[in-house]
Subunit: 209 residues, 2 copies
Amino acid sequence: MPSYKLTYFDVRGLAEPSRLLFHLAGVPFEDNRIVFGDGTWERMKNSTPFGQMPVLNVDGFEIPQSMAIARFLAKKFGFAGKTPEEQAWVDAIVDQFKDFFGQFRQLIIAQRGGKSADEIEKITSEVVNPARETYFKALNKILEKNKSGFLVGDGITFADLVIAENLLSLKNFGFFDESKEPKLAALKKKVFNQPSLKEYLASRKESQI
Amino acid sequence: MPSYKLTYFDVRGLAEPSRLLFHLAGVPFEDNRIVFGDGTWERMKNSTPFGQMPVLNVDGFEIPQSMAIARFLAKKFGFAGKTPEEQAWVDAIVDQFKDFFGQFRQLIIAQRGGKSADEIEKITSEVVNPARETYFKALNKILEKNKSGFLVGDGITFADLVIAENLLSLKNFGFFDESKEPKLAALKKKVFNQPSLKEYLASRKESQI
């Protein structure tokens, strides 16, 4: 079996779907967590492929970009969709998440950059809320059609992991009210109730994002 | 052979890498272009999977999201990377484009929304220019290592198409000076000089994006 090392900050964030894939598949990996603010990241940044994390190292071969890593692992472990059509839908959902997250990120950057309450309110109402509406509408439409309770086909895929993790973050930020989104809440519950994830989820380090 | 119909606005935009894949592979498809502003899109929007374009229809089966469509076609036609590792790098580059484009999009939205020159200048200097620096740096690093002149492996992949198309758009917007980025300019030229694309490129409808 190859030797896997996944390097990211010490939060769930964009690496967590890949961490969950390892646990789902029962494949051991080195969960290399970089503490934010102690200078380690600044020292290693230029040696990473894109100057960003996460990075997956597979027997010395490096892969950047969170969703490329997750797709690579999902294909290896059997969670990328069973047919080319299922795989395309898994990819489409993951890209829908990426589109949403690119807009949600504006809010995180504004909050962390100490922007005024007015500016944050403007980003929330003009950017994040409309983006969330589009995103939730697309996800609900899929879950109405797909009777398995998962997003694609009859089993769990990395799209389910990506969305469930994002819903948890949105809940932490006050942007996901489970009582108002029963289908999305059921998906999140179904993912986090996977028997192979239970032990990890019970002991993992929680973070807002 | 399946019957393919690709529906998008009457511009290059996010559908063009998929259009190029059809031409590269010599596979016929219906290039269904929706004229902006005549009400057609508004009427059909709710019947699309995500309320967005492009949408690929394959024998009645619909796939949304531009890069999911491109990956689906690239896998079918042999332009997705030759090994799992090459595929992961193709995906990583495409996601790097998506991250950049999500930020560049803020400028397009501001310009089209009639924002003030000050606001546009602020987005340019605070968002687009730093994002472009990260993006070009990542691409240059790849092209320094990969001696084929393509981004991944020894042949053209859909990552090359996505990046070449985006470079053309950036040039149209004044954000890509070919004389200052010789490696990126060479990649763009190499892609647009592919013999199987020549005829289409000579006759296609140009657009700013």
